[in-house]
């Protein structure tokens, strides 16, 4: 008997009975919570399928290859938006990967110890800024900059590539890609950093001992080792870019057509839903929009699951925890 305890201890039988029901009830609660989490995952797909059933029935597979979106004619096709999504994400990654990977390399290999934590936290802050603020800033600051300064230069010097045709007004696929890249960078940086940090010192030291320069250590000893983790990070960054809405909506120009140049106005799947949803003119458009959302969900799910599995295997193989 502890002298602190003012109450006489219950009998062991009472204890067992109370704790057994308490444990059971608690287990039920906890199971319900877990079931809720899994249910949300399943419900996401199921509810969107249900909501888009009219579109799926009436349009069938044509939704996947139709190139126009015309609510008055009940013609709905995802092609312009799939192209817009892929184009903006690809360009965003083209910018985000070198910058993000470069930053990760610098932070893990070169940066002095006192610099690492603050810079890393600043990059995380970049990720924490809401995308509507990026969109707002993009609209007010980046769009005029692109229109009057950057895009004329691109048109002048790179117009021969055929990618920069048309009259640039700043609201276009290119500007949207730039804003997207800013948002993909932190993901790429964070996961690349973790993957590089997971490379055992022995690798680095072995390379250093045979006289490799810092860069050669990185390029030949560290990066190949961390490769699958870095690729997973890039793919997760892609997943983030695919689903980004508010930043893109404000600067992409809202044109429901396949972009023909980087200066074209365009639309991504996410920005289509954002732009058209609250203001549907034709009731048949809502199921079509939900179907577009379903397709976006499936694409991001596949990408995320693939990347996470790769990352898990990489981390298990290297014996690293999630941090």
């Amino acid at each position: 008997m502890s002298p602190d305890n003012p109450f006489p201890p219950p009998t062991s039988q009472t204890l067992r009975r109370v704790s057994k029901w308490g444990d059971r009830f608690f287990l039920v609660l906890v199971l319900l919570a877990t079931a809720a989490v899994v249910a949300v995952m399943v419900a996401l797909v199921a509810v969107l399928v249900y909501g888009s059933r009219e579109a799926i029935e009436s349009l069938g597979l044509s939704f996947l290859y139709t190139r126009t979106w015309n609510p008055t004619g009940n013609v709905y096709g995802i092609v312009p938006f799939a192209v817009g999504t892929l184009l903006t994400s690809a360009i965003a990654l083209l910018i985000a990967v070198p910058l993000g990977l470069g930053a990760a390399i610098f932070l893990t290999q070169q940066a002095p110890g006192w610099l690492r934590a603050p810079v890393a936290q600043l990059i995380e802050l970049l990720a924490a800024i809401p995308s509507i603020i990026y969109g707002f800033w993009g609209l007010i600051v980046l769009v005029p900059l692109m229109r009057y300064d950057v895009e004329p230069l691109l048109s002048k010097y790179l117009g021969w590539t055929g990618w920069f045709g048309g009259n640039p007004i700043g609201l276009d696929v290119l500007t949207a890609s730039l804003v997207l890249s800013v948002m993909a960078i932190p993901t790429v940086t964070a996961i690349s950093r973790d993957s590089i940090a997971a490379v055992p010192r022995s690798q680095k030291e072995a390379a250093l001992s045979i006289g490799a320069t810092d860069w050669e250590v990185t390029r030949r000893a560290v990066l190949p080792y961390a490769r699958s983790g870095i690729i997973a990070g890039i793919v997760l960054g892609l997943g983030r870019a695919l689903g980004e809405t508010m930043a893109v909506t404000l600067v992409i120009g809202n044109r429901n057509a396949i972009p023909t140049s980087l200066f074209s106005q365009g639309q991504t799947i996410a920005s289509l839903i954002a732009n058209d949803f609250f203001e549907v003119a034709n009731p048949t458009e809502v199921p079509a929009l939900l179907e577009a959302g379903l397709i976006l969900l499936v694409i991001t799910l596949v990408i995320n699951i693939g990347a996470r599995l790769t990352l898990a295997r990489f981390q298990a193989g290297r014996g690293v925890g999630a941090e």
Binding site: D4, N5, P71, N254, N275, D276, F278, E279
Partner: protein
């Protein structure tokens, strides 16, 4: 050992390494967290409650024998053309809380069809297909105001008002006229040096009554437009940047040099955006203002069909007078003829009464007095009479609703 509280006095056992296994919790930390949590919750409740008006005593109206229902919330949605006026009305009207979602006429029509709002606002009347889609008992249509579409543009060097013909506007929006200094436009504006710059066309991306007015006008002026694109709340625009709402078009044109767009005159004037003159059927170039829009409506003098009839052909475009503005338009409200039947048991009589009271107020002299300062056209007395009769025909489960005399 007891299985009592592991809070402040859990017994500890020492491992061989001398570290306590179960650590003594810091005294008083649990209660402190609880207090902080309670304080935060109380602050939230107070702030939220204050905003939600929980602490306000219910205000009683002072309009004589008729006591309007209080505390009702009415939801409307639709036309962005009339939104500035609607917002002014909803802020001024105190007997109920009126929420207006400025989402475009197209959405207004589909929202009232879907019964997610109490009234739908649109500058485009219901077309036959939309009328057929409205579930029973059907809606009444009546105009609560009128406005006009004007061509806004952003040409930094130009301070004189540009002149446009319907043909020119059609060709710009068809994409066949692509540069500001083309000969046709220059010919119509001899005193102005137009810049050598590509025209940035701005149109609506959402379902829009203003688009309906604009495209109807262009259909009248240009045969190609009429046969290829027609007139509707959404158009298959061949060129241009899409923007949402009258406000989106205004913003885009205002911030994009060399742009042209179409908005209600309120948006152009209240935002200091230049707009051009449009040629009317008599050949005169008219710069829109409240006077010549009002005269256009008077001269066009369309006959109103019955409240439940087909309004699709009601038009005040290209009015015949010499000084009439050719792009005038009514803007309409759609309300279910019998909200009790339409919305079901969740819709109370008090709410139906509140709806009717609000509608009566906006067509009354008090409500209409908000129009002119915001560059909208007050209803003619004939229109007011028509509207009042329509509003009086709104029933609740068959019983008439007598509107309280508007204060």
């Amino acid at each position: 050992m007891s299985s009592g509280s592991a809070g402040t006095s859990a017994p500890t056992t020492e491992t061989p390494a001398g570290q306590p296994v179960i650590q003594r919790q810091k005294r008083g930390r649990g209660p402190m967290i609880a207090v902080i949590a309670v304080v935060i919750v109380v602050i939230l409740v107070v702030v939220v409650g204050w905003q939600a008006g929980w602490f306000k005593s219910s205000s009683s109206s002072s309009s004589g024998t008729c006591v309007p229902p209080s505390g009702q919330t009415l939801n409307g949605a639709g036309s962005t053309l009339v939104a500035p006026l609607m917002i002014a009305w909803s802020l001024a009207y105190s007997d109920s809380t009126v929420n207006y979602a400025s989402v475009g006429s197209g959405a207004g029509i589909s929202d009232i069809t879907g019964k997610t709002v109490d009234f739908g606002a649109s500058d485009a009347p219901l077309n036959p297909a939309q009328r057929a889609d409205i579930p029973s008992p059907g809606v009444v249509t009546f105009p609560e105001s009128a406005g006009a579409a004007v061509p806004i543009y952003n040409l930094p060097g130009i301070s004189t008002t540009l002149k446009f013909t319907g043909q020119i506007l059609a060709e710009i929006y068809l994409g066949t006229m692509t540069n500001w200094n083309n000969s046709v436009l220059q010919g119509v504006n001899p005193g102005v040096t137009l810049p050598n710059a590509a025209i940035v066309v701005v149109h609506r991306s959402d379902g829009s009554g203003t688009t309906f007015v604009w495209s109807s006008f262009l259909s009248l002026e240009n045969a190609t437009w009429a046969s290829t694109l027609g007139h509707a709340t959404t158009i298959n625009w061949p060129v241009g940047v899409g923007a949402k709402g009258n406000s989106g078009v205004t913003t885009t044109v205002k911030s994009t040099a060399d742009a042209i767009g179409y908005v209600d005159i309120n948006y152009a004037l209240t935002n200091g955006v230049a707009f051009g003159a449009v040629q009317n059927p008599t050949g005169n170039y008219i710069v829109a203002n409240v006077t010549n829009i009002e005269s256009a409506i008077k001269d066009a003098n369309p006959t109103f069909p019955s409240a439940t009839g087909d309004w699709y052909n009601v038009s005040v475009l290209n009015a015949p007078g010499a000084h009439d503005y050719p792009l005038a338009t009514f803007t309409y409200l759609f309300v279910y003829k019998d909200p009790g039947v339409a919305y079901g048991s969740s819709y109370s009589q008090a709410k139906a009464q509140a709806l009717v009271d609000f509608l009566s107020w906006i067509v009354s002299a008090t409500g209409q007095s908000y129009s002119a300062p915001l560059y909208y056209i007050p209803l003619t007395s004939a229109a007011v009479t028509f509207d009042q009769a329509t509003i009086a025909s709104i029933t609740y489960n068959g019983a008439t609703l007598s509107a309280c005399a508007p204060s």
